[in-house]
């Protein structure tokens, strides 16, 4: 029986089939989200949403489950960050404060310089760099981030340059 129908049929939250998938993949998804959204509590929330999606609507194929999880979690993170950005804009307008970092949620915290540098980038740039680092194709990156496939190269090149500058300024 295909794993999908097995999962569909048998997954109760304490079932091994689902729990096993959760235990095998949770930390990967969480670490990925830490890179994208920066903040632990938000990363935990979005990781949870990702696994609820897996539970409710598992993919057709399980051959590349980690790819699927990265895609779904990136999409969710993106929606969240986009909402966050516009929420902050609205708040800014209300308070007429002029300076804003779009990514306050990537707040300064524990780890080192690389993270600082990454943190200083816009969330779109950050996502592109991270996804490329994982080895996703431009087509997949486009699908996950909504950046046009034909623009991925350009946006990525600029993002990498900014990342480099941010890092060098720091060190």
């Amino acid at each position: 029986m295909a794993l999908k129908s097995r999962l569909k049929r048998t997954v109760a939250p304490d079932d091994f089939a689902f729990r096993e998938l959760f235990e095998a993949n949770y930390s990967m998804v969480f670490r990925h989200l830490i890179l994208i959204v920066g903040e632990q509590a938000t990363a935990e929330d979005i990781a949870q949403e990702t696994f609820i999606k897996l539970y409710e609507r598992p993919p057709e194929e399980f051959t590349n489950l980690s790819g699927w999880l990265i895609k779904v979690s990136t999409n969710l993170a993106y929606n969240y960050l986009r909402g966050e950005k516009s929420r902050k804009r609205r708040e800014m307008a209300d308070m007429s404060i002029t300076e804003i970092s779009a990514d306050d949620c990537f707040r300064a915290s524990e780890t080192g310089e690389v993270r600082d540098a990454l943190r200083r980038l816009d969330y779109r740039d950050r996502a592109l760099i991270v996804l490329k680092f994982y080895g996703f194709s431009y087509g997949e990156i486009a699908e996950m981030t909504g950046v046009k496939k034909s623009s991925v190269g350009k946006v990525l090149a600029r993002a990498l340059e900014k990342f480099k500058q941010a890092y060098e300024r720091k060190s």
Binding site: R19, Y26, T111, A117, A157
Partner: protein, 375 residues
């Protein structure tokens, strides 16, 4: 014609078709400016890769609390709502579900199993059953193969929802509560383990009691039973009858281990199973047990349980469950199958009308020690 950075980046990432690549390579041969741009880009790419590798290593050095995330996930209402619609006893404590076979004919077994853990207190118009014993039946690899084969033939694809209607009332999601609130929520004295050295102070989760009713559609059920080749069918009189399972309030005390992992101690009254007036539970049981799809070995064991009305049956798959002693009481120790290295084991027993469960990554001795220390 010079190339802008996006194109060069795509070249580095091997995203361009062959012909375009050659064009760029030929151009770079001749154009110093593009060569320099490409070199800078390559530099930025390599630096970024190196830094992300470093960062990702850092992140890997920080442990992620998968256990806590799992607990939180299972408390999400969307997950809980799905779980609620499933079997019967596993709702008392979902972990039990882990020993049920995730394949075919589960529906048949589920009915047999959920009718089994019952005790008739012959009230005038209701049959109320409570769990008083726990017994293990052994499901051999051969039985599993048989069940699996049914699943592959599509005959095991029976959801209990195809046999009738399931309704749940009074269910609320589990909530984190104080010890006092947990204590007040049950009508028995909560016990606490003695020496939990190396563990945090417990947090308490309360799952309030609720009830689930199953209204049987005899025609549908018999149709399915017939497709299984059943000779005996359910009597027409059962049509539209409501079977109710009253799930007790469950208190879980969760102790986190400082070195990671968690031990949970659950306490609850027995669930109750209520059959409508005049339903001959033995007759229903006979029909279910005579289903030809039930492997002979399982049938024999189910038949052999004399006090079936008050016995909770735990299937033992590949040695996953064994009958043990907890003090002077009979109990069952359930371990995850070997391939599920991270699964929890559970020790379950009942005493003075309360069902207890100790679960975590524990071996029998450790679980028995915790059980023995409970006062």
């Amino acid at each position: 014609m010079c190339y802008e950075e996006g194109m060069l980046q795509a070249y580095i990432d091997r995203e361009l078709p062959g012909r375009k690549r050659w064009e760029i390579e030929a151009h770079i041969e001749r154009c110093g400016a593009c060569r320099e741009r490409l070199a800078l880009l390559q530099d930025a790419n390599e630096a970024a890769s190196a830094r992300l590798a470093e960062l990702s290593k850092q992140l890997h050095d920080n442990p992620v609390s998968t256990e806590a995330a799992w607990v939180r996930l299972t408390q999400d209402e969307r997950i809980a709502a799905q779980a609620r619609r499933r079997g019967v006893f596993e709702m008392l404590q979902g972990r039990l579900k882990t020993v049920l076979v995730p394949v075919a004919a589960v529906a048949v077994l589920a009915i047999a199993l959920s009718l089994a853990p019952v005790r008739g207190i012959a009230a005038d118009f209701l049959n109320i059953f409570r769990v008083q014993n726990v017994e293990v039946i052994t499901i051999s690899p051969g039985d599993m193969d048989e069940l699996r084969k049914l699943g592959e033939e599509g005959r095991g694809m029976v959801d209990i929802e195809n046999l009738g209607k399931i309704e749940t009332s009074g269910h609320t999601p589990p909530a984190q509560v104080s010890f006092k609130a947990a204590k007040d929520a049950v009508d028995f004295e909560l016990k606490q383990p003695g020496g939990m050295d190396g563990y945090s102070a417990p947090s308490f989760t309360l799952q309030k009691g609720f009830s689930t009713s199953f209204t049987l559609d005899v025609d549908k059920a018999n149709e399915i039973f017939k497709s299984f080749g059943a000779a005996e069918l359910l009597p027409k009189a059962l049509d539209g009858e409501r079977f109710t399972a009253k799930m007790p309030t469950v208190v879980m005390a969760n102790y986190s281990k400082n070195s990671g992992g968690m031990v949970s101690i659950g306490q609850a009254r027995s669930p109750e199973f209520i059959l409508p007036a005049g339903v001959d539970a033995d007759a229903v049981r006979d029909v279910l047990l005579s289903l030809p799809v039930l492997p002979e070995n399982i049938r024999r064991q189910l038949m052999a349980i004399k006090d079936w009305r008050n016995t909770l049956i735990i299937p033992n798959i590949d040695g996953s469950a064994q009958e043990v002693k907890v003090g002077s009481e009979d109990g069952v120790f359930v371990t995850p199958a070997p391939e599920h290295a991270y699964g929890d084991s559970a020790l379950i027993w009942q005493k003075d009308g309360v069902i207890y469960m100790v679960s975590g990554q524990l071996d029998l001795v450790a679980a028995q020690e915790i059980a023995a220390s409970m006062r």
